[in-house]
């Protein structure tokens, strides 16, 4: 196995809910290798989304460290964190990933505004990303004019437009029918296998778990690793 690109070291995260302390992650240790296609599974409320948020620095751990690509994410602050996230992380959520007022192409172009690329180069790169996800013929469609599966693929195109090392997908097929879900899973698998992306995918879908190369089962902040 290669180097772990994501390392959780004694990560603890709890939320205060109605005066009660709810421990979501309890001294969690976890390694994710570069280029892995990993499925995070577990019952609702087990802290799967929390893990993704910690990896991308959208949320902070109460204790412990999250090291991504050798960088301690919680130690990054403000603009440094934003810039790092733009460069290394691509997010795909369960639904409503896209800005409704922009077309597919514009949505994919959006993160490229953070690069020094010129307008034409941005367009080209966004178009290429949409080609990879098989939507070269839907450039000017608004999210409302796309099917759920197409919307998710546009979201994936946007997540890879910046060519990040890590894709974090939170139930990317949760809202999709079987066929669309399979297409999305196939695409994520390809991104990992062919493009060497590290894909961390939260899912409830048994089939999705089978597609991934490794599954981590999470329960009450504890990991039960099972090799797929």
């Amino acid at each position: 196995m290669g180097d772990p690109v994501i390392q959780f070291r004694g990560v603890t995260k709890s939320y205060r809910k109605g005066g009660q302390e709810l421990v979501v992650l309890d001294h969690l240790d976890m390694d994710i290798e570069a280029g892995e296609f990993l499925a995070l599974m577990g019952p609702s409320g087990s802290g799967k989304s929390t893990i993704l948020n910690l990896v991308g620095g959208l949320d902070l751990p109460d204790a412990g460290d999250v090291i991504v690509g050798g960088v301690s994410v919680p130690a990054l602050g403000g603009d440094e964190l934003s810039t790092w996230r733009a460069r290394h992380i691509g997010y795909v959520f369960q639904a409503f990933n896209l800005l409704p007022v922009l077309t597919a192409l514009e949505n994919v172009e959006l993160p490229l505004l953070l690069t020094p690329l010129k307008k034409a180069a941005r367009r080209e790169q966004a178009r290429y990303a949409l080609e990879i996800v098989g939507l070269a013929d839907r450039l000017d469609h608004r999210p409302k004019q796309l099917s759920g599966g197409q919307e998710q693929r546009v979201a994936i195109a946007r997540a890879i437009a910046m060519d990040p090392t890590i894709l974090l997908c939170d139930e990317p097929t949760g809202d999709l029918d079987r066929d669309s879900a399979d297409q999305v899973l196939d695409l994520l698998g390809r991104l990992s296998a062919e493009y060497g992306k590290t894909v961390v995918m939260v899912t409830h879908d048994q089939k999705a778990g089978e597609d991934a190369r490794r599954v981590i089962h999470l329960d009450k902040g504890v990991i039960a690793p099972v090799d797929a």
Partner: protein, 389 residues
């Protein structure tokens, strides 16, 4: 694609809401320019007034006529160059709604004392020569469609004719004004026509003159001459009150009570109301965009981006609305000038009013955008994504 386009798309994502906001700002800004212009136009009339003219009226009231005999005595006072008589006629043209000022005066003296009144030479002569002739400002000529040679019937109210029929004046000239202190909504006719009609019993009404207008000799100050006139008549038969033209105009403004303060208060209220309106629009918009902002942050946009987006959107809406309102204020100047007539000599939107309105727009835009902007910036991305789902 750029952030400006995103702002435009988001602003127009609810076209009706955008339109209503822009419309409300437009109406408010027009109103603001309009109210401010009433004040500045009145001020301009006072400021532009000549320091070389003073006005003698009755010390009792502006509505109390002075004896006609005073003109000879006033002419004798040191420092007085010329004295002309002005009598408020108060006639009605067809309908009492059609209000405009008419004065019986001394034609040659009037034009001599008021270089601001611009009248073609042939009109001047024609007016001097016709005892029933009158000159009218371009404002009323256009309003009522009069041209030179037309006969204008005026029903006397202060000076009713014995038979009850209207007075008839022939338009001999149409004048323009070169300064804000002289309006273009007044009719001037021969004072002597009125006086002779009163003398012969053809008309009823008070004899005399409403005010005397005095042009000063060079080297004389208004105050000393005014004092000399008032001192002369201190013992009667009727006491006088003589003031510089500017003070007289200012008095007239003061007669309307504390109008400028009052209008200022309305203006401030309008400003606050429109600020609330735009804040409301932006708050609703921001609530809908919570998720979009979370997505932007998850993509790696910094906290400053939501701030920029909201500030740009609200200033854009306000500037479009404000631009329309200010444009409307500019376009309606001639119409409002005609509507105000003598009430406001020359209604005009001043340059500083345009500037102030623009500054107010930018201020409201920034302020209204700032509230949701700061909230969006402070919001943690997880919260934005969770709450916006």
């Amino acid at each position: 694609m750029n952030l400006e386009r995103l702002v435009r798309r988001q602003a127009l994502s609810h076209p009706v809401r955008a339109l209503l906001t822009v419309g409300a700002v437009a109406v408010a800004m027009f109103l603001l320019c309009f109210l401010r212009s009433i004040v500045t136009s009145l001020d301009a009339a006072v400021k532009e007034s000549s320091g070389r003219r003073i006005i003698t009226a009755s010390a009792v009231s502006l509505f109390q006529a002075l004896p006609a005999s005073y003109s000879a005595a006033i002419a004798e006072v040191d420092g007085v160059a010329t004295v002309s008589r002005f009598t408020w006629f108060g006639g009605v043209y067809k309908d009492p709604e059609n209000f405009f000022a008419q004065f019986g005066t001394d034609p040659q003296l009037l034009l001599d004392q008021y270089p601001e009144i611009e009248l073609p030479a042939e009109h001047k002569q024609a007016w001097f020569d016709d005892k029933r002739g009158a000159i009218v400002g371009i404002g009323i000529a256009e309003k009522y469609g009069w041209s030179v040679g037309d006969t204008v019937p005026l029903l006397g109210t202060i000076f009713p004719r014995a038979g009850g029929e209207p007075w008839e004046f022939t338009v001999r000239g149409v004048y323009r004004s070169t300064r804000a202190n002289v309006d273009e909504m007044t009719m001037y006719f021969h004072w002597t026509l009125l006086d002779e009609a009163l003398e012969s019993g053809e008309s009823m009404g008070p004899r005399g003159t409403s005010v005397y207008l005095i042009r000063l000799d060079d080297g004389w100050e208004g105050e000393e001459v005014a004092q000399a006139i008032d001192d002369y008549y201190a013992g009667g038969p009727q006491r006088t009150r003589t003031q510089p033209e500017a003070a007289f105009q200012a008095d007239f403004v003061n007669m309307m009570g504390n109008l400028p303060t009052f209008l200022g208060m309305i203006g401030a209220a309008v400003l606050v109301a429109i600020l609330f309106g735009v804040v409301n629009t932006m708050t609703i918009a921001a609530r809908e965009r919570l998720r979009s902002m979370g997505i932007l942050k998850a993509m790696g946009f910094s906290d400053r981006v939501p701030i920029r987006l909201y500030l740009m959107e609200s200033t854009m809406l306000v500037l479009i609305g404000g631009g329309l309102g200010i444009g409307l204020a500019w376009l309606t100047q001639p119409g409002l000038r005609a509507m105000f007539g003598t009430f406001i000599p020359v209604y005009q939107v001043a340059g500083e009013t345009y500037l102030a309105a623009t500054v107010a727009c930018v201020g409201i835009g920034l302020l209204a955008g700032l509230i949701p902007a700061l909230r969006a910036a402070r919001l943690r991305p997880v919260e934005a994504l969770r709450r916006g789902a």
